[in-house]
Symmetry: C2
Subunit: 130 residues, 2 copies
DNA sequence: ATGACTGCAAAGACTTTGCATCTTT
DNA sequence: AAAGATGCAAAGTCTTTGCAGTCAT
């Protein structure tokens, strides 16, 4: 019926928002972005759904930047650059962590590696020129 | 005089604590460790001094593990392994991030790289066997 | 109707800060 | 005496949760 097409659940909107941006947003950034289309969305709903998507493995967390958690709908392992000036996060799909490092890690730490995250920090193009 | 040798400033104790451990402790872990030698040390003092050491570049932050910031007196860039079971952080001095990746990052992201952090996650030896 | 989702406000967890006190020089 | 460090408790920030109301099937 019409209701179901007109009014998407907010959960869907949150995931779509994350998939359509490359900004690696925080919960609050997602909330702001959705204000235009869903003016009544609650921040709690954003937090709740981000946590749910994460538990389902549908999105991943990049960890925190300046104490705020950032999310990424791209769950494939990839490298990030974080600008210390403006807190922007940029994907670096062209760069890969050599596979041998994982084996070395298991060897030296006597552990079982399940994931890895490489993050470069510095100043992005805009911030470097100002 | 005697007072100055008998009673080290707590700031010194905090740095020493960080230098003598490989646990990459949080503020609260430092606080607990110091209870034995400085039973009256305040958590606020630990936070305050950790922030100060960090601002002086004398220690570095590894970012947060489960929402809690972890510190390292070793400011040289090195690789870490974080156990998702017990939140332990293990150094991997034997492993290095290929230098070429930094140049690639600057090339592809159009940025200026100042630091990099490689972290493997998984289960440590103890947690894998339980 | 039933189960799932949401808004609101309260609660929680970690960290920072104001102020008076105590140390060190 | 002056400058700096600390303890305590209050405040701050980000995030989670309880509960009642709403939506979808």
């Amino acid at each position: 019926m019409e209701g179901s097409t007109k009014q998407f659940r907010k959960r869907n909107a949150i995931l779509a928002c994350l998939q359509q941006t490359h900004a690696h947003p925080s919960a609050e950034m997602v909330h702001e972005m959705l204000q235009k289309t869903h003016p009544d969305i609650s921040l709690a709903t954003v937090y709740r759904n981000l946590a749910w998507f994460k538990s389902q493995g549908m999105i991943q967390s990049l960890g925190t930047v300046n104490g705020i958690e950032r999310f990424d709908a791209n769950t494939a392992p990839h490298v990030h650059f974080v600008c210390t000036g403006c807190s922007a996060v940029i994907d670096l799909p062209q760069i890969a962590v050599p596979h041998s490092l994982e084996a070395d890690t298991e060897k030296y730490a006597g552990c079982r590696v399940q994931g890895c995250q490489l993050t470069f920090t510095g100043l992005c193009g805009s911030c470097a020129n100002s």
